[in-house]
């Protein structure tokens, strides 16, 4: 390369370090923004290969970790057994004990977690908890899992093992060890691992071109159940938040996730190993939190109620049941959730609406009517209740006057909602048309001779469904 090319090169803007919140420079001049190099980390160019950072040895000492060797090379490994998942964690809850360590998973809970689960899932001894620490959260083939932590129930406690690559060149060896461990326990258990950790690891395996990604027999991910159970109450469903609010744990000083990649990069560039220690602890805590939380979730989902459930949890549980098609259980838990009387108004309405729909489906119209009458208002559910009540009085009770008066109430409710701006113009318009249409029909009907009204009635489909296309067709035919 000629001197000029190098000179030009040295000015190339693209080489600037990406801005870390620093304001952009005032000029695009290449000369003015020559290299923005981290002076400290550069030093003398290191040897060719493989170059384990100097601090790696001290890291092993600090942690009491050892190098693990296999046919692809070495990586660092650290094992630790916890007699209790909450061991030495400040907690204001009574200890959960060993969670699922010794018994098989309740069938009713399993059915909600994973319908048609393979046999192994019911055996907690087959569960392998997994959590990774990565060089980024965007995914893609350039994001590495530099630390993989796994854990399993063992000897009445939780065994945690962590693998760490001291350099990129150790990835292969690390992935091989992980594959061996995964072959011993067939059920992968993660928190948000379905969309993040596991696809990322699969990518890492593919990148080796020699190791096949392990194929666990089942993959249980607790993010979604956790979201159903606690998002309403806690807001966030980050693992740390759940630990705090559900388990009553307090992690104390913990490294913030967003700093983890940079800490690792600094270590690779020759920085000191000390800042890595909190990452190991963080990863251990994530695994222990996951283990404890999974036990808690299983308990909550069990038909035989072992742990107390609050209204939110009952509501979440009924939603899970609803989604899994367990209508009876769902209805039971919805009723319990309402009885607990601690849901905020919006959630309460959602629960009532779901219950009303179920009651209607089951033909329990009196319960449905009570629920509808209790939720009338300008909310989405309240307006639906008006509509359902109108249908109810028109079709089942055959009181067109009553149905008409409910429709009129709904129209004024709509107008109020529009004035308050609590309903979008389009949605309001649609609803208004529906109610006006219904009202017109009811008024026509009220004015007709009974015989005629019976004739018209019989030519229309017997029953209106909830806001479906059928309803529109039937109305069109009548109109």
């Amino acid at each position: 390369m000629s001197d000029t090319t190098l000179d030009r090169f040295s000015r190339v803007k693209a080489l600037q370090r990406p801005p870390n919140g620093t304001p952009p420079r005032a000029t695009s001049s290449m000369a003015a923004k020559a290299f923005d190099i981290r002076e400290s980390a550069v030093g003398v160019p290191r040897g060719f290969s493989p170059n384990i950072p100097e601090g790696a040895e001290r890291l092993a000492e600090l942690l009491g970790a050892a190098a693990l060797r296999n046919e692809f090379g070495e990586h660092l490994a650290l094992r630790k057994w916890f007699s209790d998942v909450a061991d030495r964690v400040k907690t204001d809850c009574s200890p959960l004990g060993h969670g699922l360590a010794d018994e098989s998973v309740d069938a009713s809970a399993l059915g909600l977690l994973m319908p048609d689960a393979p046999r192994e899932v019911a055996d907690p001894r087959q569960w392998l908890f997994l959590d990774t620490e990565t060089t980024g959260i965007m995914g893609g083939s350039g994001t590495y899992a530099f630390m993989v932590g796994i854990a399993w129930w063992d000897a009445g406690g939780l065994e945690v093992e962590q693998f760490f690559m001291r350099d990129h060149s150790e990835e292969h060896a690390l992935l091989l060890t992980l594959a061996e461990r995964m072959a011993e326990r067939h059920v992968l258990v993660t928190f948000n691992g379905k969309s993040f950790d596991w696809p990322l690891l699969e990518t890492r395996y593919r990148m080796t071109r020699t190791l096949r990604p392990p194929a666990p027999r089942a993959h249980l991910d607790f993010l979604h159940p956790a979201r159903n159970l606690w998002r309403l109450r806690i807001g966030s469903v980050r693992l740390q938040e759940l630990e705090r609010h559900v388990l009553g744990w307090n992690r104390g000083a913990d490294v913030a996730s967003e700093f983890i990649p940079e800490i690792y990069f600094d270590f690779l560039r020759g920085g000191s190993p000390e800042p890595l220690v909190p990452i190991f602890l963080h990863n251990q805590m994530d695994l222990r939190g996951l283990a404890a939380l999974s036990s808690r979730i299983v308990a909550l989902l069990s038909e035989t109620e072992r742990a107390g459930r609050d209204g939110f949890e009952l509501f979440g549980l009924s939603r899970i049941c609803e989604r899994r098609g367990e209508a009876k259980r769902a209805r039971k838990h919805f009723e319990q959730a309402l009885a607990a009387d601690e849901l905020p108004p919006g959630t309460d309405r959602v629960a009532r609406r779901s219950l009303a729909r179920m009651a209607k489906r089951e033909g329990d119209f009196s319960r449905a009517r009570d629920l509808w009458e209790g939720m009338l208002g300008s909310s989405q559910e309240g307006l639906e209740a008006y509509e359902q009540l109108a249908i109810y009085y028109e079709r089942h009770i055959r009181e067109p006057q009553r149905a008409a008066s409910i429709s009129r109430d709904a129209l004024s409710e709509l107008q109020r909602a529009r004035r308050l701006g609590t309903i979008a113009r389009g949605a309001c318009q649609k609803l208004r048309e529906r109610f006006e249409h219904r009202l017109a029909r009811l008024e026509r009907k009220a004015g007709r001779l009974p015989l005629e009204s019976i004739l018209v009635e019989s030519s229309a489909p017997a029953r209106e469904s909830d806001r479906t296309g059928k309803e529109r067709t039937s109305r069109a035919r009548i109109g």
């Binding site: 390369m1 000629s2 000029t4 090319t5 190098l6 000179d7 030009r8 090169f9 040295s10 000015r11 190339v12 803007k13 693209a14 080489l15 600037q16 370090r17 990406p18 304001p23 952009p24 005032a26 000029t27 695009s28 001049s29 290449m30 000369a31 003015a32 290299f35 923005d36 190099i37 981290r38 980390a41 550069v42 160019p45 290191r46 060719f48 290969s49 493989p50 170059n51 060089t135 980024g136 959260i137 965007m138 995914g139 893609g140 083939s141 350039g142 590495y144 350099d167 990129h168 060149s169 699969e202 990518t203 593919r206 990148m207 071109r209 990649p261 940079e262 990069f265 690779l268 560039r269």
Partner: protein
């Protein structure tokens, strides 16, 4: 349906094809009649500068190769294709023999068959085969999807074809990766969506046999240089999975398709140039609006003249498409034409608009109307230039030159795509290129002089892709990427904290995802956003209401287009720039309606860093190219009145200086040359600037680039390369000639307006003679008296003898 299918089906007259009522000859006669009506009012030869008649051409057929699988041959037969055009046959054989090749074909010559036939045949032979098709736009991919799905249906859906782009829903993406034999995508998606996630595409990459690059000629300049690097990354990934795909390229007619393809894919490429497709009779007309002021070189508005031409054609029942170069002009022309062609009571509007920004449903409706003949006229931007099937129209009228010969032919090809006679009319604006083209028809109708260039080793671009490459797969010291010293670049990237060397390879060492910050359409990702604060009391736009971001401009053009008090034009709406926040890269604008636009006054200085080549030429003078440092500063602006181009005001600006390292081509006029000119100093200086203005016009023509891709500057010849002398004295747009310092040995610089250079300088050095000759032709043929915007630039800014002096200098240079 694409060109290939329709051509053949017409050639064989299958049942069901509508027989058109106008016979071919009648179209030509009608057009002739319309033209004489138009020209009758002026001196005909001056207005109609060229009327070229292209007789119909017979197809040259070859038999369907015997290696084509019977079911595929049957599928094509069912579409009416029994035999191949000769170029399709040549392409098929090249594909069969495993060669990389480029097919150069005009519009509607059945080019898609050139790649579909061999690719589908390979899939039928081995169902594992995968192919990746790249189109420059999503619309083109959609169009090909329809054709391929039609073939898939005829082949019992034995292969999968999908588009994969920003519109592909995320839940469908997995299916595309797993079931697609042919994936239709675009370079941007390949760059940000596919390559960084190649592990999800394992199956495709392991079996990748073909990469198809359609519309190859669009991959030039910045975009092409990026694409070349994306293809380098693609080749790395393919190699990682053990495949080495074959490249099949299609290009519109340009002078160097083979060279371009070779630069883009970095492999040997064969070219198929002979075209065996039939062509219908065509009339191509150049229409130059008449002069209204010979002194100032002012012509009648080309938009009004376009309207007149289109009206005459529509009045004679010819279905017509009108092309405009901007959305604004589309709307203006549409208004004029709709006023002149009111719908019959109860009928739909016979003339419609078509451009980006219309909703898809509306577009499909217009396309259908055109095919069915209900829509008689359409006014479009280049959104309708490529691909989209609108059937065969009778006439195409272009308001202004499309910027390149290739694009002009593509627009002209929208009329008469099939077998009927058609006509195309180019209405010239007063821009130099338009005027050159209509006054030199041979330049246009002769062998294409347009070259497409790329500079894949532009460091600014290459380093960005190097980062992406390292993210995708660690870089090995044994790899070769372009002509750069990879190890050294990686070392520097490692020092800057991007890469980390381990086990001999360089690994990505950032959290960020590099492809996200690299746009293939510009050199740097640095840009300014434009925020509309109309109706906001606070100019910062932060205190009341939501200010709206209406657009962005890249860094290099920000200072000239959105400086304070500038009039910024966006989608035809004028905005006044209230404030430019340089640090935050934001420009706050308010909607206004004024009768002027602004033109920034920029001082530009060029310092030569390294001369790559230099040569003495007649004059005496010298030509050279090499590395330069360009320093520019916007120091003020002028307000220029629309239509009359009067200077109606000016302002001073204090903006930061901008420095850019790039490449340049330059001509140095020696003292002897200037001293021998019989002109006063100011005339001489004006002549130099006028000459540079004209050189720039011709350079953009030869390079198929935009005027903003090149920068110009005049400076005193440097004492020597790299010597720390004073900065060279400057400027191209000095309004006050008296302040100008005298040049003794001026250098006229044409530099690449992108950091690092984009590959224009060396080609300009090579075509120097042609450049000078064409420049002389441009100026000499211009009928103005003292120079005008069509040749040496507006006369108001220069001495009255600028044109004369420029010609004299060219004469000395033996142009």
């Amino acid at each position: 349906m694409t060109a290939s299918g329709s051509w053949h089906s017409l050639a064989l007259h299958p049942a069901g094809e509508t027989v058109r009522t106008i016979n071919p000859r009648a179209t030509i006669d009608t057009v002739q009649e319309a033209l004489s009506a138009l020209a009758g009012r002026y001196r005909g030869d001056e207005v109609l500068t060229a009327v070229r008649h292209f007789p119909a051409r017979e197809a040259k057929f070859v038999a369907m190769p015997d290696w084509v699988r019977p079911e595929l041959a049957a599928a094509y037969r069912s579409k009416g294709i029994e035999q191949l055009f000769s170029h399709q046959g040549a392409a098929a054989e090249l594909a069969r023999s495993g060669k990389n090749f480029v097919v150069v074909t005009p519009t509607a010559s059945g080019k898609t068959l050139c790649y579909n036939l061999p690719v589908l045949n390979a899939i039928l032979e081995d169902a594992d085969t995968r192919a990746l098709y790249l189109f420059p736009t999503k619309a083109l991919a959609q169009d090909q999807l329809a054709e391929l799905q039609d073939l898939a249906t005829r082949l019992d859906d034995c292969f999968g074809v999908f588009t994969y782009d920003g519109d592909t829903p995320s839940d469908a993406r997995k299916a595309v990766r797993e079931r697609g034999h042919v994936i239709l995508t675009n370079p941007d998606m390949l760059h940000t969506g596919i390559l960084p996630h190649h592990t999800k595409w394992t199956r495709v990459f392991e079996n990748l046999k073909y990469v198809v690059l359609d519309e190859l000629h669009t991959y030039r300049g910045v975009f092409g240089s990026h694409l070349a690097n994306v293809l380098r990354r693609l080749a790395r990934i393919a190699e990682f999975y053990g495949s080495r795909p074959q490249f099949i390229c299609c290009s519109a007619t340009i002078a160097n398709p083979g060279e371009l393809a070779k630069q883009l894919i970095e492999r040997e490429v064969e070219a198929v140039a002979e075209n065996g497709a039939p062509a219908a009779e065509k009339l191509f007309v150049f229409y130059n609006p008449p002069m209204v002021n010979r002194n100032l070189g002012i012509r009648r508005s080309y938009l009004n003249e376009t309207t007149r031409v289109a009206k005459e054609l529509l009045a004679r029942k010819l279905q017509t498409i009108v092309f405009a170069n901007s959305r604004l002009h589309t709307e203006v022309l549409l208004t004029y034409l709709q006023q002149a062609n009111r719908p019959q009571p109860g009928q739909e509007e016979p003339v419609r608009g078509y451009r980006g920004g219309y909703l898809p449903g509306e577009r499909r409706e217009i396309e259908r109307g055109l095919r069915e003949g209900r829509v008689r006229g359409v006014v479009a931007t280049n959104a309708l230039e490529l691909g989209i099937d609108i059937g065969s129209l009778d006439a195409a009228v272009m308001a202004g030159y499309a910027g390149s010969i290739a694009a002009t032919w593509q627009r002209a090809g929208r009329a008469g795509r099939r077998s009927d006679a058609s006509c195309a009319v180019l209405v010239a604006s007063s821009a130099p290129l338009d005027q050159f083209i209509v006054q030199h028809p041979d330049y246009f109708f002769g062998r294409s002089p347009e070259h497409a260039y790329v500079q894949p080793d532009n460091l600014e671009i290459l380093i960005n892709h190097l980062k992406c490459a390292a993210f995708e797969l660690p870089l090995s010291p044994d790899e070769r990427i372009g002509a750069v010293d990879l190890a050294q670049l990686c070392e520097r990237l490692a020092e800057a904290g991007y890469l980390h060397r381990s086990g001999g390879n360089w690994h990505w060492l950032q959290q960020a995802y590099p492809a996200d910050t690299v746009s293939l359409r510009s050199v740097t990702s640095d840009n300014f956003v434009i925020i509309d604060v109309t109706g906001k009391s606070d100019v910062s736009g932060e205190n009341d209401g939501e200010p709206e971001v209406i657009g962005e401009v890249d860094f290099s053009s920000a200072l000239t287009t959105v400086h304070p008090k500038a009039i910024y034009i966006h989608q035809g709406q004028q905005y006044h720039v209230e404030r430019l926040d340089f640090e935050q890269r934001k420009a706050y604008v308010k909607r206004v309606n004024v009768d002027y636009f602004t033109d920034a006054v920029r001082y530009t200085q060029v310092r030569v860093l390294e001369i790559a080549e230099e040569e003495s030429i007649a004059g005496p003078a010298a030509r050279a190219h090499g590395d330069v440092l360009v320093r520019s500063q916007v120091v003020g602006f002028k307000k220029i009145k629309f239509f009359t181009n009067e200077n109606v005001g000016a302002g001073k600006l204090e903006l930061p200086e901008n420095e850019m390292h790039t490449t340049a081509f330059w001509i140095t006029l020696e003292r002897e040359l200037l001293a021998g000119l019989p002109f006063a100093l100011s005339d001489r200086q004006s002549g130099i600037f006028g000459l540079l203005y004209a050189l720039e016009s011709m350079a953009t023509l030869l390079l198929m680039c935009d005027r903003r891709d090149l920068g110009t500057a005049v400076g005193e010849r440097p004492a020597g390369p790299g010597i720390e002398t004073e900065w060279q004295e400057f400027t191209t747009a000095m309004s006050d000639m008296s302040q100008m310092k005298e040049f003794f040995e001026p250098s006229l610089y044409l530099y690449d307006a992108y950091p690092g250079g984009i590959g224009f300088s060396e080609p300009l050095f090579r075509v120097h003679d042609l450049l000078l000759r064409r420049t002389r032709e441009l100026i000499a043929a211009c009928p103005c008296e003292q120079g005008c915007p069509s040749c040496v630039g507006p006369v108001g800014e220069k001495s009255e003898r600028a044109k004369e002096a420029a010609l004299k200098i060219l004469e000395r240079l033996r142009a």
